[in-house]
């Protein structure tokens, strides 16, 4: 399995604070069947500004430490970019790059507040050849309230990455239900760990993939395949528009 979203690099963001923790996280990943990880520290203006060059430097160090500890896992560079008014400019400058330098750019939006300007940014990124992969949409309030809100993003060719933890239920039943709806509607292009620690948000993917398989075997297979494809910058099939009855979500609120 390939994990395309993982805060594994120590000391760069709200992930592991030291190399030891990173090593434990890597060991856990190997135990759970992960063979490759794309390291994705936050690029979040004002909080964690990890440019791509810096990611590459830190990755080298991590690779060295993993080799020394005998941990057999492939490590690749990436970033998780918080979409804002400067994202396009930074992408043009090369401070921000796609996962493993592919066309696939991992982006996140605020959990609570939506703005149409995000669509504008996504449009501009597409013009530059990037394919935005939206991180954990199942955690965004405005998506939980109305999954159809993903349609404009689908129109712009966006792909969606669901967190293993969301599927497992660590963020609560509502997020878990939202993950289920996304999987059922063919909108689970990737399952990734978004691991930050060895606790709840850990590097294990296996459990989540098994749950996803039970919901939809095809979806799980596709998600797995997509992660491998992404690593090689291969072409990934675009999403089709969805139409989910809103009344479903009033049920969610009672949960």
């Amino acid at each position: 399995m390939v994990d395309i979203h993982c805060h594994i690099l120590p000391g760069l963001d709200d992930g592991p604070g030291d190399m030891d923790t990173s090593m434990r996280m890597l060991e856990n990943a190997v135990r759970c069947g992960t063979k490759a990880i794309i390291a994705t520290p936050h690029y979040y203006r004002g909080y964690f500004e990890n440019g791509f060059e810096e990611v590459l430097r830190n990755l080298d160090t991590l690779r060295g430490a993993a080799a020394e500890s005998g941990i057999d896992i492939e490590l690749y560079p990436g970033q998780e970019v918080f979409l804002d008014g400067r994202t396009v400019e930074m992408y043009k400058r090369g401070d921000i790059k796609g996962l493993n330098m592919s066309r696939y750019l991992l982006v996140e939006m605020p959990m609570h507040e939506y703005s149409d300007s995000f669509l504008d940014m996504v449009y501009e990124l597409r013009l530059l050849g990037a394919v935005p992969v939206i991180a954990h949409p199942e955690r965004y309030d405005y998506i939980i309230n109305d999954v159809n809100k993903l349609n404009p993003f689908i129109d712009e060719g966006c792909l969606f990455q669901i967190n293993a933890g969301s599927i497992e239920g660590i963020f609560g039943k509502t997020v878990q239900k939202a993950s289920k709806v996304l999987i059922e509607n063919g909108l689970c292009n990737f399952v990734a760990s978004d691991a930050h620690t060895n606790g709840r948000r850990n590097t294990g993917l296996q459990e989540a993939l098994e749950i996803a398989e039970n919901i939809s075997r095809t979806a799980a297979e596709i998600a797995n395949g997509n992660s491998e494809l992404l690593l090689r910058d291969g072409k990934i099939k675009a999403n089709a528009r969805i139409s989910v009855k809103k009344s479903f979500f009033s049920f969610l609120k009672q949960v």
Binding site: D120, E124, L127
Partner: protein
């Protein structure tokens, strides 16, 4: 939405493209008394097709060899950058905010003789920008450089922006979607333009269903191609017809 809306590029021999050329000619003939150089395309409400019409009109004007500029003045829901597949990072609003010069923000449309000025970064005060003397002077400065300037505006009944242009343009084209536009809304739109002494060059009746039996029925199925032969029309059924307002 996107490049598929440019039927004058994608299917230039179709009856719809022909209708745009008719529109172009009609506008030329309406300028016997006063030169019609700067035209705003507007509508009463949203979704009547005015952006598509503005874009295609700009294309046929350019195709006739006129140096044309299409300006997207809809700062709230700009579309032209998507129609032509171009960036909207910089545009009219940036120019008016003096962040960039015209030369820096104007873009080649991909069609010869046609330039595009997209809306630009969404400003907090779109109406103010359009009412400003900067905008007036900017449009005035273009008259010497270009043959035709076509402006895509927001719908009249939504915001005042389209009305604000009346001071410095030569006329309006009112887009009306057949069967969709409320008769009262269209009348109200005309009233709003009359209020600012806006000259209505004419109206475009859009989305007319040519399958309806009647006068236009004959024209809908065949057209004369470049080879002089009669061809069956397989293109989409939209039609345009210019009427005096």
């Amino acid at each position: 939405m996107g490049k598929e809306e440019l039927i004058t590029i994608n299917n230039p021999l179709s009856p719809v493209a022909e209708a745009y050329r008719t529109l172009r000619t009609n506008i030329q003939f309406s300028s016997i008394d006063k030169k019609v150089q700067v035209i705003a395309v507007t509508s009463s409400g949203p979704g009547e097709g005015k952006s598509t019409i503005a874009a295609n009109l700009a294309v046929v004007t350019a195709q006739a060899g006129k140096k044309t500029l299409l300006i997207d003045c809809d700062q709230r829901k700009p579309r032209q950058h998507k129609v032509f597949g171009l960036s909207n990072e910089y545009g009219l609003s940036n120019l008016l905010a003096e962040e960039a010069s015209f030369a820096a923000v104007v873009q080649k449309s991909g069609v010869d003789n046609l330039l595009l000025l997209t809306s630009g970064t969404k400003p907090p005060n779109p109406s103010e920008l359009l009412a400003s003397s900067k905008m007036k002077n900017f449009i005035h400065s273009l008259r010497g450089q270009l043959d035709f300037i076509i402006i895509d505006t927001p719908p009249l009944l939504m915001v005042t922006d389209a009305q604000l242009l009346s001071n410095y343009i030569d006329g309006y084209i009112l887009t009306i979607a057949s069967g969709e536009a409320d008769r009262e809304a269209a009348a109200k739109a005309k009233e709003l333009l009359d209020n600012v002494n806006g000259k209505i060059l004419g109206a475009v009746l859009n989305k007319l269903d040519m399958n309806d039996k009647g006068y236009y029925g004959y024209y809908s199925h065949y057209y004369y191609g470049v080879d002089g032969e009669k061809h069956k029309d397989k293109s989409n059924k939209k039609r345009k017809k210019r009427e005096r307002a």
